[in-house]
Amino acid sequence: MSRPVLEAENLAKRFGGVRAVDGVSLDLAAGEVLAMIGPNGAGKSTCFNLLNGQERADAGQVRLAGREITGLPPRTVWRLGIGRTFQVAAVFASMSVAETVQVALLSHDRQLWRPWRRANRYRRERARALLAQVGMDWAAERTCGTLAYGDVKRVELAVALANDPRVLLMDEPTAGMAPAERGQLMALTQEIARARGIAVLFTEHDMDVVFGHADRVVVLHQGRVLARGTPQAVRAEPEVQRVYLGAPASTEPTAC
């Protein structure tokens, strides 16, 4: 395989005495879908925050297509081609769905200083097309603040795609969705990733989604990588079963 698009090396971050992320390395190839799983508090979200510059790493490096991006602010990281969706979806509550995407397009084209022309006429077709891609074109004129949570997640995805990203970071993209909808969204994400050669890193608690749609899986536990590999290999790992998946034939006493 060609050189990875995104590489992280020995990332570390501590909050007070807690080592939230403790020497995590990972790499992502174009078109690849990598799932990051692990129990709550394993450091998944912090890891994401280090990758897109939301938090400053104590140690370690992040490289995008060979270029060092460690310590750059999120807005610069985004311009370089890493899009992100949040665990708690964040959109512009006072704007319509189409306008939200248009703002991303305006920002991408560096047009946000313009004081005269109407913003909601800017690249409408492109905004519509992006929304259609995630199945949200029907809601283009709705207000973001009034959407159902699953739909907000889709809008976030459309916003992230507005920048033609090389890497997509999706923090629990299907949280708050019905099971059927989850599979749909991840199938869609997988399809977009393959078609456009986007590398996708996502976290997820629904194992059906993980094992159904990820090419590779990395398991985090207490800030460290516990296991990595194909979904099958990871699922078979006894240590992973012990701390996270829970084996059906487990002999451990169950609490409560």
Partner: protein, 626 residues
Amino acid sequence: MDFVAVQFLTGLASACALFLVACGLSIIFGVTRIVNFAHGSFFMVGAYGAYSLSGALMPLLGGLGFWLALPLAALGVGLLGALVEVAVLRRLYRSHELFQLLATFGLVLVIKDAALITWGPQDLLGPRAPGAAGAVTVLGEQIPEYDLVLIALGPLVLAGLWLLFHRTRWGVLVRAATQDREMVGALGVDQKKLFTGVVFLGSALAGLGGAVQIPREAANLNMDLNIIAEVFAVTVVGGMGSIAGPFLAALLVAQLNAFGILILPEISIVLLFLVMAVVLVLRPQGLLGRKELAGSATHGAPESPLRPEGWTLGLIGLAVLLALAALPLVAGGYQLSVASEILIFALFAASLQFIMGVGGMISFGHAAYLGLGAYAVALSVTHWHAPMTGALALAPVAGALGALVFGWFCVRLSGVYLAMLTLAFAQIAWAVAFQWVGLTGGDNGLLGIWPAAWASAPAAFYWLTLGLVAAAVLLLRRIVFAPFGYGLRASRDSTLRAEAVGIHTRRQRWYGFTLAGAFAGLAGGLYAFAKGSVFPEVLSIPMSLDALVMVLLGGVQTLAGPLVGAAVFDGLQTWLMSETDYWRAIVGAGVVALCVAFPRGLVGNLRALQESRRDTPAVSEEGASG
């Protein structure tokens, strides 16, 4: 060297009152998350109260009466604070912070007029402190004994508070509520009582701060706003919600004042500003403040998106504009000058609405930019004999430059911190205009700023104003719907998301702030010509408040709101001022009522009603906050 030591002691003594008031403000904020503008008023009432109580008690008890009057005054102010909490603040805990700030601002006006009615307009100097009326010699210099009492009082109160918050059950609960008030409520603590108690304590501290001042400083009606700007600076530097922070900051600020006066008496307040600026850049949450408290604490429901008006409203706007243009045909000179003033305030309010509604930045010192525009005009006319057009062109530049400099600091903060900082900057601008007599004429103002001959007739000046204001307002509206406005709204709606799509939110907000400053500056320039003179009042806190009330009246999230608000408020105020001396109290009470009853402003609530009638599933107003 001895002189330095004396100056140092004087600084320590001045720090005492500052600490007491700032610490009370900080405690109240920590638990209720309300920045109490009326805190300066509590300070003032404490001073007046101590004056009256010592006057009543000293004939009976002698010297003891004086020392008894101080804590009694504090107690009385504490009770007043508790009353305010039960009657007003309690109803605002879940409101948007803007309405919390404004409601307490309304209280300032009410309390000021109540004090005027009770104690009259003259300054009241208290008795010298019995038993501490003399002076002691320190290092060969005379130090008032009373200063030593004050120097001791600060640390004593600090120690007492520390014991209260760490050694009593109530104090521990207060600290817990500062961390997480919902959790404390969930644990079965009676929040209502706790909150009332905390406001009582904080107010009492402010009252004590005022009471101990009376042998040093005469009680007067300007104490409230004079101290509040300094106290805001102290709490911002020290860190909101902390107790030791304000203590440290009060010492720092008082020493700066004490020594600054020696070095550069005119600009001692600029030193304060520099310290604040440095602290805010290095530690936005203040010296000892905690980060999570510094962030915006905005409550409120999601707003419906701003939409450009349809044809109907556009036509109505055009009709209104035509009707306004035809006004000189029917109105006389006086009505036209009132109408010009209303138009100017409409522009001023619209520029404030731009940063508040669109940019999400609450400014409590927007008058600074109005004033800069006005002074730019006045100075260029009186000192350089500039022609009217040239002077008027300078006004927006001056407003923008001021906003560029102040805004650089302001946009680093959000929520209440931002509001407090804008107020502090406006107060600094006011102090410079007030103190720099050589340039600005100080309190006497700058006179004789009349429009050029072609615009001197009331109708001509009115048309000029109407043309400029209409053009400026239309331009502002255009910007709101242009990419620039969307960038601002994106930064307001979600900084996280905005940054994650490449928006430099701080820069966007900074430019927005500057732009609003330019429009306010233009309004200020017109204002100077309309009045023919400029006084420091144009930069003062009440002027900023007026603009806020106008925006609030109309509704923060509506574009027509500030225009309607300006017309209603300025018209109403002009009328009230002609009817009664106590118009401030009426305005203040109206503001409080408005904040409690119409959290979206007149136009805003009207539109919400309209929307809920139409079709959309009604967006829940209350309860959406966390």
